[in-house]
């Protein structure tokens, strides 16, 4: 099965418009102004679905099944505190009554999600039935449905829209998890069947290579800093290029950026939040600095760590594809997240309207520590690299120097 950039774009736009429709319904009912910030399609390991929601935040919302041209599950979720504002807007005093609160959430969810699903059906010129909504209330990623059964790679496409309230730093989310086969068939149908199509199997294999790369980068962090680090997630997403920086907020990040060339070329970032940067830099340094501020020594340590993590990540591509991927020396960055990404997205944006973005996360259990790797490959070159990818070699990510020296 092959999909092309055109069909990815079409489906991303459908999800985005569906989310806009749903948001307009909510605004009409509650007077709460909200806008759909970002919609993206990701290919992700089934067990990693919703990892970005964490484990602790409490969510309430509604869940539907849908059936027809597309089959699967979709949910609309609010953080619990936000749902209160919505309930109050709908039914003043409604939060005092638990069952009233639940039925309000259910009702608004129902109306919003009908708008979401109807948009899809209309565009696809077919009908999509949906089940009555059920009210859900769970913590973190458990709020999402498990995701449909899939093929041997156990990866699924997830559509995710983030909707933000005007003037507030709060968001709610729509997730749609369609069954793999009907979705990919539909996407293949809606593609331009040109030469730029990507076999989904290769995309999935590429995802697994990146998971391996993340694991290696995590090992490097652990070896250098002594912080036990686990690779958590690796996924590949597709979105309009201008949506790429939007995913990074105003929070200050520290890390490194490189440009890589070869197959493919593009940009790679290793980012830490400020606290994680200090934690890991302290771990790297032979002498304890015990500083709450990020010092120049910390930055030098981060720079080298970023360098090593970058290599750990892209070496796998080079070894599987049997060619070399060069990267520039790392440049240290310490700025607002979005401002770090936008120059990179803009440089790619001179030649492409959309971007594939590879996101990996690594964490540790004991400490407040998180690190992310983001790669932004040139779209055409990525397609070419995937074309050349020999799926049977996808596990050959490591090279053995001892064999050559």
């Amino acid at each position: 099965m092959k999909i092309d950039v055109q069909s990815l774009d079409t489906f991303n736009q459908l999800a985005h418009e569906g989310a806009q429709e749903a948001t307009r319904s909510m605004t009409q009912m509650t007077g709460i102004e909200a806008t759909v910030e970002v919609t993206r399609i990701s290919l992700v390991d089934r067990k990693d679905i919703g990892e970005e929601l964490g484990n602790d935040a409490e969510f309430v919302g509604v869940q539907f099944g849908f059936d027809g041209a597309l089959t699967g599950e979709t949910v609309l979720i609010f953080e619990r505190e936000q749902s209160a504002a919505i309930v109050e807007a709908l039914v003043p005093g409604g939060m005092a009554d638990e069952s009233m609160a639940q039925s309000s959430v259910k009702e608004i969810g129902n109306i919003m999600m009908s708008g979401f699903i109807d948009g899809w059906a209309e565009h696809l010129g077919t009908s999509i039935e949906h089940t009555p909504p059920s009210y859900i209330e769970r913590q973190g990623k458990d709020v999402l449905p498990e995701g449909p059964e899939t093929d041997e790679h156990d990866q699924v496409f997830v559509f995710r829209s983030e909707i933000q309230w005007e003037g507030e730093d709060v968001s709610f989310y729509i997730y749609m998890l369609p069954e793999y086969t009907p979705l990919t068939e539909l996407m293949a149908e809606h593609g331009s069947s040109g030469t730029d199509a990507i076999p989904i199997k290769k995309l999935a294999a590429f995802n697994q290579m990146n998971r391996e790369g993340t694991r290696r980068a995590a090992e490097n962090v652990e070896m250098m800093s002594g912080i036990e680090t686990e690779a958590e997630v690796s996924q590949i997403s597709f979105a309009p290029i201008e949506d790429v920086p939007k995913r990074f907020g105003k929070e200050t990040h520290v890390g490194t950026a490189v440009e890589f060339t070869g197959a493919p070329s593009g940009f790679l970032l290793v980012l830490f939040d400020e606290q994680s940067a200090i934690t890991v830099a302290e771990g790297l340094m032979p002498v304890d600095m015990d500083s709450d501020e990020l010092t120049d020594q910390h930055k030098a340590a981060i720079e080298e760590l970023g360098n090593i993590m970058t290599s750990g990540f892209v070496d796998g591509w080079a070894n599987v594809l049997q060619r070399s991927v060069e990267h520039t020396p790392p440049r240290l960055v310490h700025d607002m997240g979005q401002a770090i990404i936008d120059p990179l997205a803009a440089q790619l944006g001179q030649h492409q309207r959309h971007a594939f973005m590879i996101d990996s996360t690594m964490k540790t259990e004991e400490l407040e520590f998180e690190s992310k790797i983001h790669a932004l490959p040139n779209e055409q070159e990525l397609r070419k690299a995937l074309d050349d990818l020999d799926v049977d070699r996808a596990d050959q990510t490591e090279a053995d120097a001892d064999r050559l020296f």
């Binding site: 490097n220 070896m223 250098m224 790297l284 032979p286 030098a300 340590a301 720079e303 080298e304 360098n307 090593i308 970058t310 290599s311 750990g312 070496d315 080079a318 070894n319 049997q322 060619r323 070399s324 991927v325 060069e326 990267h327 520039t328 020396p329 490591e398 090279a399 120097a401 050559l404 020296f405």
Partner: protein, 119 residues
């Protein structure tokens, strides 16, 4: 005790290598790119160069190639974060005598040096 030149653009890495090597070897200099590495090599003719690959101005493979062409008996160990087979082959072609991937543990560095310049 070998005379060692360290070529790495990362101050952090140079310090780390210095700490590991200082005990048994004489570090005659630290440089930050391939051009400086070649220049200093010509001046000092050390027994061993610990050479990074990804460096500004000129990379470590090119620098190794030049050193090895002019001084076939010199010793160069690549000491790099790059773990790509194609790069390793390029390093072999340039004449490198060893290849250590970062991050490394102290024993592996000592062992690699022992292989190249036995004490």
């Amino acid at each position: 005790m070998a005379e060692v030149l360290i070529a790495d653009d990362s101050e952090f890495m140079r310090n780390l290598l210095r700490e590991i090597l200082e005990e048994d070897h004489n570090i005659i200099g630290e440089v930050e790119n391939g051009v400086e590495a070649v220049e200093m090599f010509k001046e000092e003719e050390p027994d061993l160069v610990m050479m990074d690959i990804v460096m500004p101005i000129r990379d470590g493979i090119e620098a190794t190639d030049e050193i090895k062409t002019e001084y076939p008996n010199s010793n160069v160990i690549m000491c790099t974060s790059v773990g790509q087979e194609e790069k390793m082959k390029e390093a072999v072609k340039a004449g490198a005598d060893g290849y250590i991937t970062k991050p490394f543990q102290k024993p592996s560095v000592i062992e690699a040096i022992q292989d190249v310049v036995p004490s």
